[in-house]
Symmetry: C2
Subunit: 470 residues, 2 copies
C-alpha cells in the first residue's frame, strides 16, 4: 500500500540515537519521543503512508531551532518543520526518520507596522490567529488556503487559496524570512522595504522550498486594508465552459474580483445536501468583490452583465455579511460536504493549474475521465488563477482502490502538463508529485538539486521531498 516515492529512505541509526539523547537532555519535556506524538507529526491526508519522525521538539524560540539544527547537522540527522499538519502531499513525513520541530509554541506576532502595512510573525502563528490579532488595526492578511494553516507552513508550500486572484499567493505576500541554515546560523533574506533589487531573491527561494533549505524562524508579511465593503454572490451556468468564459472575460476586462470560485454540478449537489442549501445543480461561480459601496456595486453590475452574456443565470449579489458568510461557509465546507456523500470512503484532494484559456478543457476532460472510470469525484476551482482541485473519494483499504486513485492523479497531471500547466498550483510537491515535477520541468529540476546540495550538503532538511537528491 506504499506510494513509490514515499518509500522509507536510509536511516542513520547511530546519528539518530545520539541526537535523541542530546535533545532529551537539552530540552527535557519539550522533546518528546512517544508514539502518539510521533504519529501526530506525520499524518497525511492522502494515500501516502505516514512515516514517523523519531522525536518531536516543541520549539519556543529561534535559539531552540538553532540548537536543534546544530545537533542534527553534526550527526547528519533529518530535521522537518511542522506547523499544523494540514499539508496534502506528505510534506511532514519522515522517510529517513529524524526530528520534527513543532512550531505551535512559536506563535507570537512579533510586530505590526500599520503605516507600512506589514507585520512579522513567528512561523507557528496561524492565519486565523493573525487576523484575530489584527482585528482592531483595520488591516488583514488575505491569503486563505481553506485550512487554518500556520504562516510558516503556508510560506514553505507557497500556499494561496480563494482570493489569490486579487491578492496573489504567498510568494507575493512574504517580504522577508529569517531561517536557520545548515550551519546552524540564522539568516535574514531581505529588509522590510516593499521592493528590492539587492542580489538573489532568497525570500522567494525559501517560499515554496517545503523546508528543504532551512528552517523558518520568522516571516514578514504584507498586509491589506480591510475593505470598506464586501459584496458577493452566486451564479449558475449551463456548462463548465460557459462559467470559464465568464471568468476569462472578468479577468480580461480587469474587473478586480477578489474571489471567483467554480464548483461543478456534483459539488453543488454535495453542498446543497450538507449545508441545507438549494442552489441549482449546475456549474456555479461564487464571486466576491472588495471595495467601497460604489466600486462593489459597479463591479457586481459588470460581472452580472458578463455572466448574462456567457449564458449564466440570475446573479444575485449582496453586501449582507450574514448571507455572504453562509455562502462562503458552504464553499469552505465543500470538503466535508463531499465526504458526506460516501462516508465509508477515503478522500484525496489534489490540485493542478493551467492557463485559464485551457481551464474549461482541462476540467471537461477530467469530468469525462471521472465518468469513464466510474469514479466519485468533485471539482472546485480557484478559476481566476486556472487552478482547480479534485476531491476523489476512493477505497484506501485495498491495493486496487489505491491504484485507481494513483491512476486518476497521474492522468490528471499529464493532462494539465499537456496544456502547459503545472502539476500543483498550491499544494506543493512533497512526496506525492515528485514524478510529475520531473515531467514538468525536466532539466530545471537538476538546478533545484544543485541549489539544494549547495545549501544543504548533508541533506538534513526534509529529505525525500520535492525531488530525489543527486
Amino acid at each position: 500500500m506504499a506510494l513509490k516515492d514515499a518509500k522509507a529512505g536510509r536511516r542513520n541509526e547511530a546519528g539518530i540515537a545520539s541526537v535523541l539523547g542530546i535533545l532529551k537532555q537539552s530540552f527535557g519535556e519539550r522533546f518528546q519521543t512517544g508514539q502518539s506524538f510521533r504519529e501526530q507529526h506525520a499524518h497525511t491526508t492522502t494515500y501516502i503512508p505516514s512515516q514517523l519522525p523519531d522525536g518531536v521538539l516543541f520549539a519556543e524560540s529561534a535559539d531552540d531551532v538553532k540548537a536543534a539544527v546544530k545537533v542534527c547537522a553534526e550527526h547528519k540527522v533529518p530535521v522537518i518543520g511542522f506547523g499544523t499538519g494540514s499539508s496534502l502531499e506528505g510534506q511532514v513525513n519522515a522517510p529517513n526518520g529524524g526530528i520534527s520541530i513543532d512550531f505551535s509554541r512559536m506563535n507570537r506576532v512579533i510586530e505590526v507596522n500599520m503605516e507600512d502595512l506589514d507585520c512579522t510573525v513567528e512561523p507557528g502563528v496561524t492565519r486565523e490567529d493573525l487576523n484575530t490579532h489584527l482585528r482592531d488595526t483595520g488591516l488583514f492578511f488575505p491569503i486563505d488556503p481553506g485550512a487554518n494553516a500556520s504562516i510558516g507552513g503556508m510560506t514553505a508550500t507557497r500556499a494561496s487559496g480563494t482570493n489569490a486572484v486579487r491578492y496573489g499567493t504567498m510568494k507575493d505576500n512574504v517580504l522577508s524570512v529569517t531561517a536557520v541554515t545548515a550551519n546552524g546560523e540564522e539568516i535574514r533574506t531581505a529588509r522590510r522595504a516593499r521592493k528590492s533589487s539587492a542580489g538573489y531573491d532568497l525570500t522567494r527561494l525559501f517560499v515554496g522550498s517545503e523546508g528543504t533549505l532551512g528552517i523558518l524562524t520568522s516571516v514578514t508579511l504584507r498586509l491589506q486594508g480591510i475593505p470598506q465593503k464586501i459584496g458577493g454572490g452566486v451564479c449558475a451556468f449551463p456548462t463548465v465552459r460557459a462559467a470559464c468564459d465568464a471568468v476569462i472575460m472578468t479577468i480580461q476586462m480587469g474587473v478586480p474580483v477578489a474571489r471567483i470560485e467554480l464548483l461543478d454540478a456534483l459539488q453543488i449537489r454535495a453542498c446543497n445536501a450538507y449545508s441545507k442549501l438549494n442552489y441549482d445543480e449546475k456549474p456555479t461561480l461564487f464571486v466576491e468583490f472588495h471595495g467601497t459601496d460604489e466600486t462593489v456595486a459597479l463591479q457586481s453590475a459588470q460581472f452580472g452583465e458578463i455572466a448574462a452574456e456567457c449564458g449564466g443565470g440570475a446573479f444575485a449579489w449582496t453586501v449582507n455579511a450574514e448571507e455572504r458568510n453562509k455562502l462562503w461557509k458552504a464553499r469552505h465546507d465543500a470538503y466535508w460536504a463531499s465526504r458526506a456523500l460516501a462516508p465509508e470512503m477515503a478522500a484525496l484532494s489534489t490540485d493542478v493549474c493551467v492557463p485559464i484559456s485551457r481551464l474549461a478543457d482541462c476540467i471537461g476532460e477530467t469530468q469525462a475521465d471521472i465518468e469513464a472510470h466510474g469514479l466519485l469525484a468533485m471539482i472546485v476551482g480557484h478559476a481566476g488563477d486556472g487552478n482547480f482541485h479534485v476531491l476523489l473519494l476512493f477505497d484506501d483499504k485495498t491495493e486496487e482502490g489505491i491504484a485507481v486513485a494513483e491512476g486518476f492523479v497521474a492522468r490528471l497531471n499529464k493532462r494539465a502538463l499537456s496544456m502547459d500547466g503545472t502539476c500543483t498550483g498550491e499544494h506543493g510537491i512533497g512526496q506525492g508529485k515528485m514524478a510529475f515535477l520531473e515531467e514538468e520541468l525536466g532539466g530545471a529540476v537538476d538546478l533545484m538539486r544543485q541549489v539544494k546540495h549547495a545549501l544543504d550538503p548533508d541533506n538534513i532538511f526534509n529529505p525525500g521531498k520535492i525531488f530525489h537528491s543527486a
Copy 2:
C-alpha cells in the same frame, strides 16, 4: 579614478584568445572585436570606469547562445548579456574580459496569449517595442523603468519604475524564463500557469540575478488590460513629510493608485526650466489612476481629500490624454532637466528603498546631507513603494569630485539601511553596491555565493557582479 569594486579581475588570456578564434570562425560578421563595438557594450552611467569585453556576439537565436556559452564554458571565459546598456551600476562591464552577447537581434515577440493575458518574448525586445506590438490587442505590459530597456535586462535587474505601486515589479510580472545554464543547455523555469507550487521558484531566482546564473533566451510575461480610462494630476505640498503622509494614507486606504511619484522642490525647478512648466517649486506628487470613468473619478476625489487633509494644495486632475502626456513627459525628462542645471557636470543616478513610514525621514535627512555638503542633487521618488532616486551632479574629472560622490552614496545607503531599507529598490547591485549588499544582508550573501558556485562553478556568467565570489 577607479571604484574599488570595479577593479580589473584576473583575465584568462589563453582561454580568451581561443574563444575569440572559435567564435570568429563560427559567427563571422556577427562576432565583432573592434574597439568601438567593445566600447559600446561596456558603457556605464556612473563614476564606475568602463571595462570592455573582448568581443561582442550579435546572437540571433537560443542556439547561438547555447553555442557561445558552450565554447566559453569549455575555456572558462566570461559571458555577459547585453540588452540596451541602460543599467546603472556597471552591470555590463567586463572586469575579467570575455564575451558580450548582444540581444538586439533577438527581438521577436514569440507569442501573445490574449485570453491568458500573457506573452513570450525574446530578451532583446524593448518595453516600448512590446507595447507597440500589443497596441491592437487591448493589452499592455505595465512595467516602466523610464529608459526603453530590454525585457531581458529588466528581468535580469528586477526592474520596476513608476507604476510598480499598482502592477508590481519584474518579479511579479515574469511568469517563466528560459535560460542557457553553465552546461550550455537551455532550461525553462516554469510552465505558463499563473501560479505554481512546483518546486523551487527558479523563475524568481533568475529575476534579479543580473546575468550571473545563466543567459536568458526568452521571458514569459503577464500582461494587463489597457484601462478604459486614465486620469491623473499634480499636487504640491508644503513639505516632503506632508507629501509622504498623503502617500501613506493613500496606500493605507487602499486607493489603487497606478502611479504616485514624488519630486522635490529642486527637481520641480529643473523640470519647470527644462519643460517650460510653471509648477509651484515645492515637493510635489504626480499621481495617476487607471480604471473606468467612474472609478477614476472616485479615486481622484478620494486622493484630493487625502491631499487636502495633509496640507496639499489644489489637486486638479484630468483624463485629457494630451495634458497627461505633457505631465508625464516632464516626469520622464527629469533626468535631462536636472542635467541641464549644470551641463558641465557628470550625473549619477542612485536609488534606495525604505519602508514607507520612513520615507519622509530618509528623504529629509538626505536633503540635509546635500545641503550640508554643498551638493547639487535632486530627488525623485516612486513614493508608493518607499523607493527614491537621487540624481547627483558632480565632477567626474577629479579624484576629489569622485570621492565626494562616493561619500554621498555611502551615507545615503547607510541611512536607508539604518531604517530597515535596502541599498537598491530597482537598479540592482552590479559593481556599484557590492559593499552595501554585504552590510544589508550579512550571512545571507554567503547563501547567494553558494547558489552561484553551485550553478556556475567556473564563474563564467557576469563575474565580479553582486558579490565577490568565494
